[in-house]
């Protein structure tokens, strides 16, 4: 609309400059990207939001790059159907820690058509449950099990829970059935949603620092478990037919199952024969290992690359086993 006389004269120079630059760029990028594929090529690993996942991902990246000469690209697609779709479309090759997202209906669709494949456990067992700070056990040793909570719920009273005790719920994206548990166990607790994990941590850690009572949804491995001394409250043992999804009807009154955390690869990567695939299949460590790295990153605020390097150098034997 402002295309009046003068502009037409000016355009060529701008255009020529841009065109020249573009040509220059194309030439150089072209040559730079053409040469690198010797043995391994590029592997795309998805990093999820929690610190443990960052630890897995960067250790794997370090080893793949330094030992196998792969080029590793990281994506940060959110877990569940979004990253399954990314694998189906060949945009993500591997994810190193899945908390049973594959068991949901949507997840099963991807498993069935083999666009997402489970390639074994990453060695870590995930535990979900109800946690309290250990200092509470001094005054209330009975809080070790859920029966001990009965009648004492008001210890956990907060401004939000009225006359009941407060139960702080977990991140909306995590597996949970606490409302059903509270109801079926007949506890006088009010389930208060605290929001995403960082928001929930803000809630319970403030109470912890004041040595006040708090009861909340939590899990392990988690780097904060190294900073805060937490105890899991024993819930009723699992029984056949116990339901873990609170949206489904049935009996929920049993503890959460333990999760073998799975490594996932895309169908495309699984059939690629890349040396990186062999590594991903063998990659396996422990909760303690992961916590060390996660704590370096999230607790000590080390850059993830540096944290991974530090761990790999200190654990040569374990790393070598992944490469055999």
């Amino acid at each position: 609309m402002s295309d009046r006389g003068g502009r037409r004269f000016r355009r060529p120079i701008g255009l020529v400059a841009v065109a020249a630059l573009t040509a220059l760029a194309l030439l150089t990028t072209g040559s730079a990207f053409g040469g690198g594929a010797q043995s391994c090529g590029t592997v795309v690993i998805n990093e999820q939001s929690w610190a443990g996942s960052t630890a897995n991902t960067y250790v794997a990246k370090y080893v793949l790059e330094k030992r196998l000469n792969c080029k590793v690209k990281l994506t940060q697609v959110t877990e569940g159907p979004p990253y399954f779709q990314a694998m189906r479309d060949g945009k993500v090759d591997a994810a190193l820690e899945d908390w049973d997202n594959t068991l949901t209906t949507a997840g099963q669709t991807y498993i069935k058509d083999k666009s997402v494949r489970v390639v074994g456990s990453n060695g870590i067992t995930g535990v979900i449950g109800w946690y309290i700070p250990r200092y509470l056990l001094k005054q209330y040793p009975q809080f070790k099990t859920w029966r001990g909570l009965k009648g004492k719920e008001t210890v956990f009273k907060s401004p939000e829970s009225g006359s009941q005790g407060m139960f702080l719920g977990g991140d909306p994206s995590y597996v949970q059935k606490d409302r059903a548990l509270i109801k079926e166990l007949g506890l006088n607790l009010k389930h208060v949603v605290a929001g995403a994990e960082p928001a929930q941590v803000a809630r319970w850690s403030q109470l912890y620092k004041q040595k006040k009572p708090v009861l909340f949804y939590w899990y392990d491995p988690q780097y904060l478990n190294a900073q805060y001394d937490l105890v899991r409250v024993q819930l009723p043992k699992r029984f056949a037919g116990c339901v873990d999804d609170e949206k489904l009807s049935g009996k929920h009154a049993c503890e959460y199952p333990s999760y073998g955390l799975d490594k996932l690869v895309s169908g495309k990567f699984a059939t690629s024969g890349s040396p990186a695939l062999k590594f991903v299949k063998k990659f396996k460590w422990t909760s303690a290992d992961q916590n060390v790295v996660a704590n370096l990153i999230a607790g000590k605020k080390l850059k993830p690359e540096k944290a991974a390097e530090q761990w790999v150098k200190a654990n040569a034997a374990k790393v070598n086993a992944w490469l055999k």
């Binding site: 960052t54 697609v77 979004p82 990314a86 401004p159 995403a196 403030q206 605020k301």
Partner: protein, 665 residues
């Protein structure tokens, strides 16, 4: 920036003779609320929404739809539709990828010189310096690559949004029918939380830049359309008539009269589109947009100081883009161009010099290996700027996270008091009230304030919420939305009036507004939770802080647009500045004030999901849960309920004035 119609105002006598519209209505509304309260005292908790009136299987049907879509998308031979989507996403992916690589290949030095030269040529020295600061900060804080990814993504998303938005805006500006047809769609695009459509977008466009661009566009297109339409409609009627009577065709009318005259307004639309797009960076990061959004998300979980840093970089980028486009638009204003030969030659020389500088910078950077070394590392100092900043943020965070601090001893009791005395009673009032009383009451209020048709729409929307089975959750959310909107309205109107009265204050508020519209909310809300340990408060703060800038801008514009002759007349009669404001300007700007409140609701609803992520519960939590846990139906239903709530509240508050739909954000 945002504004109401700049339509010519009829000169109104300084003394407002008609009865203020709200005097009678306020009393009526108060009586309705009083009646509702009586009903609540008698029947609290006795009549929740009846289960017989719920479509229980809706969620399952929606889940089935998702699975169907997944299966279809996974088939070997895909239909034409999917092929089209795939072609689109592949080309966008390539484009963004190529552009990002170009920016990175040029290295921080080359890109900075190129950016500054480009801005210097088209925008002038001031914004060029701003650009220099922006690029330098991207490199200095160690987020260069992420910044370039986000920049490439956002430039494309904004361009595409404008490409779609401006023509549609022109169409809507020229035809009432088009306008009426697309307005509800625009409302939906702004209110339905991105979390609800991320999954379908991912299934259709896969993961990556294309999906990120599409989700960003859905949120950023509405302001482009609305403000453009407003600009076209704001062209004085007599000018249009004059042109028509001189024999202009519709095309000529558009090109020679409407577009040039609406130019400033359209540029305003460009600016708002930029801010809206940049507010989507974090969401885009969740589905493969990468860049700064991903840094914010993972930072929130493991390094909050880093999340703050990345959040601020997003704000710097948004403000720079905003100011640069504004300056460029100003420079290219045809009214200001008087080119003679010598100026033309000078400009050509400047362009050539700039081009050379860019090439030299790139070559030098390549020679010195700047591609892998960033200025923060090159110094060889023990503490880089990035580390220094992170340490400073950490100090603040440590103070905030200390429950024995002085701040905590004030914020926590205050938060608890507000919650127990204000929020909780309101929440219980709405959730426990018999459903038919709520429906009848809100419909009656809509009738009193806005008239019969809006009341019927509100009734329909409330019924829809109950029918989809989320009545209690929606009432919970409603209570929070009402409080957040009230806070936003009070702050927005007060500051808006101040900004209209004082140019200096208006200037000072602008960066604050931009910051609040583009800084990812979780970045400041998570620290806030440490200070106020009550779930629903952070969500309300998020809503109020996100919404009030819009109210402020609308009110400011409205008060400024009051016809100067009215103001002059008032002062001629000896009215003081305050009297003029209260008796003349505010009543005459009543439309804009009402519109400001009305838009505050839309904005508050747009961040309901953020509330869900910081403990608000209600519908926001359901939506957030739906995305990841594969409960698609649950997420969609909750999102539709948010939309229905938005439409109902809009109808309740829109008032009877006809100008009200001339909205922008």
């Amino acid at each position: 920036m945002a504004s109401v119609a700049a339509a010519e105002r009829v000169v109104v006598a300084p003394v407002v003779t008609h009865r203020p519209w709200w005097r009678g209505k306020l009393v009526q509304v108060a009586s309705i609320v009083a009646l509702m309260y009586v009903a609540y005292r008698i029947w609290a908790l006795e009549y929740p929404w009846p289960n017989d009136l719920v479509w229980n299987t809706l969620s399952l049907h929606l889940d089935d739809f998702q699975i169907w879509l997944l299966t279809e998308r996974g088939k070997e031979d895909q239909g034409l539709v999917f092929t089209v989507f795939e072609g689109f996403s592949t080309s966008i992916d390539r484009l963004v990828d190529w552009f990002t690589r170009l920016l990175l290949w040029m290295t921080w030095a080359g890109t900075t010189v190129a950016g500054v030269a480009l801005v210097l040529r088209f925008g002038g020295l001031r914004v060029a310096l701003l650009t220099l600061f922006a690029f330098a900060s991207f490199a200095l804080v160690g987020l260069w690559e992420e910044s370039m990814q986000t920049l490439a993504l956002m430039l494309l998303a904004v361009s595409l949004s404008l490409l779609v938005g401006i023509p549609l805006g022109i169409a809507a500006g020229r035809s009432q029918r088009v306008s009426r047809a697309i307005t509800p769609v625009l409302d939906a695009m702004q209110i339905v939380p991105a979390f609800a459509y991320l999954l379908p977008v991912v299934i259709l466009f896969s993961i990556g830049p294309a999906a990120a661009v599409v989700s960003t566009m859905i949120y950023a297109i509405p302001p482009a359309i609305r403000i453009t339409a407003l600009g076209i409609r704001g062209v004085p009627v007599n000018t249009v008539e004059a042109a028509t009577s001189l024999g202009s065709t519709r095309g000529q009318l558009l090109r020679k009269v409407q577009l040039p005259l609406a130019r400033r307004m359209i540029l305003l639309g460009v600016n708002q589109t930029i801010l809206f797009a940049l507010s989507m960076v974090v969401i885009a990061g969740l589905i493969g947009g990468g860049g700064l959004g991903a840094v914010v998300t993972s930072g929130l979980y493991s390094n909050p100081a880093l999340a703050i840093l990345a959040g601020l970089v997003i704000v710097v980028m948004a403000m720079t883009l905003d100011r640069v486009t504004e300056a460029m638009a100003d420079r290219t204003d045809p009214a200001k161009q008087h080119l003679d030969d010598s100026r033309r030659r000078r400009i050509r020389l400047q362009a050539a010099a700039a081009g050379t500088a860019v090439v030299v910078a790139i070559v030098l950077a390549k020679i010195f290996g700047a591609a892998s070394v960033y200025p923060d590392e090159a110094r060889g100092r023990t503490v880089t700027i990035e580390e220094w900043l992170l340490a400073k943020f950490q100090v603040v965070l440590d103070y905030i996270q200390d429950p024995f601090s002085f701040a905590f001893s004030i914020t926590q009791p205050t938060g608890t008091f507000v919650f127990q005395q204000l929020l909780q009673p309101l929440q219980e009032f709405l959730v426990e009230m018999p459903w038919f009383v709520t429906v009848a009451g809100l419909t009656a209020i809509a009738f009193v304030i806005s008239g019969l048709r809006p009341a019927l729409t509100a009734l329909l929307m409330l019924a829809l919420i109950g029918f989809t089975g989320v009545w209690a959750l929606a009432m919970d959310t409603l209570s929070q939305v009402l409080v957040a909107t009230a806070i936003a309205a009070v702050i927005g109107v007060t500051l808006g009036v101040l900004a209209a009265e004082s140019g200096a204050f208006s200037k000072a508020m602008r960066p604050v507004n931009d910051l609040l519209q583009t800084l990812p909310q979780l970045v400041y809300l998570i620290p806030f939770i440490y200070l106020v340990q009550v779930s629903v408060v952070p969500g309300i703060v998020a809503g109020a802080l996100y919404a009030f800038p819009v109210t402020l801008r609308l009110v400011e514009r409205g008060v400024r647009d009051v016809s100067p002759s009215s103001v002059e007349a008032a002062s001629a009669f000896g009215a003081s500045r305050l009297q003029t404001l209260v008796k003349v300007k505010l009543p005459l700007a009543g439309d804009a004030v009402m519109l400001g409140v009305n838009q505050a609701i839309v904005m508050v609803l747009a961040v309901v999901v953020i509330g869900g992520l910081v403990g608000s519960g209600g519908l926001g939590y359901e939506v957030a849960q739906g995305l990841v846990r594969g409960q698609f139906g649950q997420g969609v239903i909750a999102s539709l309920a948010i939309l229905a709530l938005g439409i109902a509240l809009d109808r309740v508050t829109q008032g009877t004035r006809s100008a009200r739909r001339e909205v922008l954000t």
